[in-house]
């Protein structure tokens, strides 16, 4: 064909920067998620404990309100590291439920509609795809865990003064660290399980199984074999251990049984193993393979 006759041109207009492309995946996942009214309502509900916490803070710091309500708050109800630890632990589980509702569908849709192949044959690597999906979970979890945590910390510092903030400065680190630990474990594990089984329902069931059935198995293990090591299968327990360490909660007052607890190193090792296995699974299973016979 003569060169002058060639009128077809490939697109050579401006491109968005390559590093930002994962955002496309994230954006569309978000818009699909919040199309569901139930999910939106549920997300709202996740902030309810935070509002209660704020109200609580005000009541504690306002003798006037206490008088009006006819209660007297002793010093036993101090807001301290334990208070933050427990509040954020509760929030973390809220976030867990959000992620359980969101993750399997987010992945299974891409598999079911053969979208994964399309994503990956564009200049979007598997890693970018993953980062896109993880960022969705990270944003959701951040919004219900460490961000409100920091706001509450600021509010408390404001209300308390007298060097409270200075004494508890480490809590900033605890809040952020615990938040991101949770995000890392939850997002990797849930994505790995979702990518592995591909079906939304099965993946949701599997996630719940890992978090609730496995602990039951772990306790049975301990009871029958008279040991404590079965607990390494009990992910909530292990995470709780680490959580209380991060918040410097005195083991005697934490809500984990003081006797017979696992040593900290094994808790960290378990979490690390879970993350590594998840990463390995993702590497194995997140592939754009398809067999279609015509």
């Amino acid at each position: 064909m003569a060169v002058y006759k060639r009128t077809y041109k490939t697109y050579d207009g401006p491109l968005t920067p390559a590093w930002s492309r994962f955002g496309v995946v994230a954006r569309y996942s978000f818009s699909t998620l919040f199309k569901s009214r139930i999910f939106t309502i549920f997300t709202m509900l996740c902030f309810v404990p935070v509002f209660f916490a704020i109200a609580w803070m005000y009541v504690i710091h306002s003798p006037l309100v206490q008088q009006m309500l006819g209660v007297r708050m002793g010093s036993a109800l101090q807001i301290n590291n334990q208070w933050f630890s427990q509040l954020l632990w509760a929030q973390a589980w809220m976030g867990f439920m959000l992620a359980t509702a969101a993750t399997p569908g987010m992945v299974s849709r891409d598999f079911a509609n053969h979208a994964l192949q399309l994503y990956l044959c564009r200049p979007l690597s598997r890693l970018e795809y993953l980062v896109g999906k993880i960022s969705v979970i990270a944003v959701l979890l951040s919004a219900v865990t460490w961000i409100p945590g920091l706001l509450l910390f600021a509010l408390q510092a404001q209300l308390e003064s007298h060097g409270w903030a200075w004494d508890h400065l480490y809590l900033i680190g605890s809040i952020v660290l615990s938040g991101w630990l949770w995000i890392a474990v939850i997002s990797l594990l849930m994505l790995a399980l979702s990518v592995w089984v591909k079906w939304r329902i099965a993946a949701t069931g599997l996630i719940l199984g890992v978090f609730f059935l496995m602990p039951g198995f772990a306790e049975a293990f301990n009871a029958i074999l008279r040991t404590k090591w079965g607990r390494v299968f009990n992910l909530p327990y292990v995470l709780n251990l680490i959580w209380e360490q991060i918040y410097r909660v005195d083991p005697r007052f934490g809500h984990i049984n003081y006797i017979n607890r696992l040593p900290m190193w094994s808790a960290w090792a378990t979490v690390l193993t879970v993350c590594l296995i998840s990463a390995w699974l993702l590497n194995q299973k997140l592939k754009a393979r398809e067999v279609e016979r015509g």
């Binding site: 439920m97 569908g105 939304r200 099965a202 949701t204 719940l208 049975a220 029958i224």
Partner: protein, 287 residues
């Protein structure tokens, strides 16, 4: 009176033989799926995990050298209530029974059933029965093996406990409770899977409900499957710590009430499922 009469005619003239044939065909297809497919492997794992543990224990302490019967009986009771009833059978039934219909929708094969001259209600019943048989087989077998290993490794003492002591009766009770649990949870999850696209999340809510129902008023408690089952467990658990909440029975109910109560509850749920499926449409949109 007239309605009663028409019901009588219906019952007399219904093509029972034809329905039975179809029911058996549905069950055959479903049973094959439940037992033989590679995807069913998880249920083998969930059901048989405690057997492995108890097997390990039996090897670890031959002839009960490092344990005693009372303690092991208590442990078995704990495992039955906390692992089997609350988790294993719950999750097992959740997986099995939601997959009965949801699985067909995911695999886009439900229309083959809907295009057969089979009453849709019959389909629900057939699938439910097949699920029941699967669940009862796996968990019944698992409990039987657990029991056998637990007392078997005591040698003659264990034998005495089982055959001249309370052992056999306990085994029967365990089996009975297992069957009832499958009946109850099975109907619940079949119904849920016909109502909601992703029945696992409400399933989790049910788990929370079943776990915490003792703290609710007794009227509401009766709407929980665990309420009936707990009363039928043969060996009471010592309440300690958080477990106290789950093991204390506020208002005991006799087995003569608990069993029919549970059956009535399950039947009602199944009837609801049958009503739902009549209105069901096929549309395999990606969910």
């Amino acid at each position: 009176m007239k309605q009663l009469e028409s019901l009588r005619t219906f019952l007399r003239e219904a093509p029972w033989h034809f329905w039975t044939t179809q029911l058996i065909a549905v069950m055959q297809i479903e049973l094959k799926k439940n037992f033989l497919r590679r995807r069913s492997i998880w249920i083998y794992l969930v059901a048989l995990a405690p057997v492995l543990l108890i097997g390990a224990h039996a090897i670890d302490s031959p002839m009960g050298r490092r344990c005693n019967i009372e303690e092991d009986t208590r442990i078995l009771a704990g495992i039955f209530q906390l692992f089997y009833l609350r988790l294993g059978i719950f999750f097992g039934c959740m997986g099995l029974f939601t997959w009965l219909f949801r699985g067909e929708i995911v695999e886009k094969s439900l229309h083959y059933y809907f295009l057969a001259p089979v009453r849709r209600e019959l389909l629900v019943v057939g699938k439910y029965l097949a699920g029941m048989m699967t669940a009862v087989f796996f968990f019944g077998l698992s409990i039987f093996l657990s029991f056998a290993l637990m007392y078997g490794h005591f040698g003659p003492a264990g034998k005495a406990y089982v055959f001249s002591g309370p052992g056999l009766g306990q085994l029967m009770s365990y089996m009975g409770v297992t069957v009832l649990a499958c009946v109850g949870y099975g109907s619940l999850f079949v119904a849920l899977s016909l109502v909601i696209k992703n029945p696992i999340l409400p399933g989790a809510a049910v788990l929370v409900w079943e776990t915490f129902h003792p703290v609710f008023p007794s009227m509401l408690q009766k709407l929980s499957i665990m309420f009936y089952l707990r009363q039928l467990c043969p060996v009471p658990l010592q309440p300690e710590g958080l477990l106290a909440l789950f093991t204390v029975i506020a208002e005991p109910v006799s087995p003569w009430l608990a069993v029919p109560g549970l059956l009535v509850l399950s039947t009602a749920i199944l009837v609801f499922a049958c009503m739902r499926i009549r209105k069901m449409e096929i549309s395999y949109l990606a969910d």
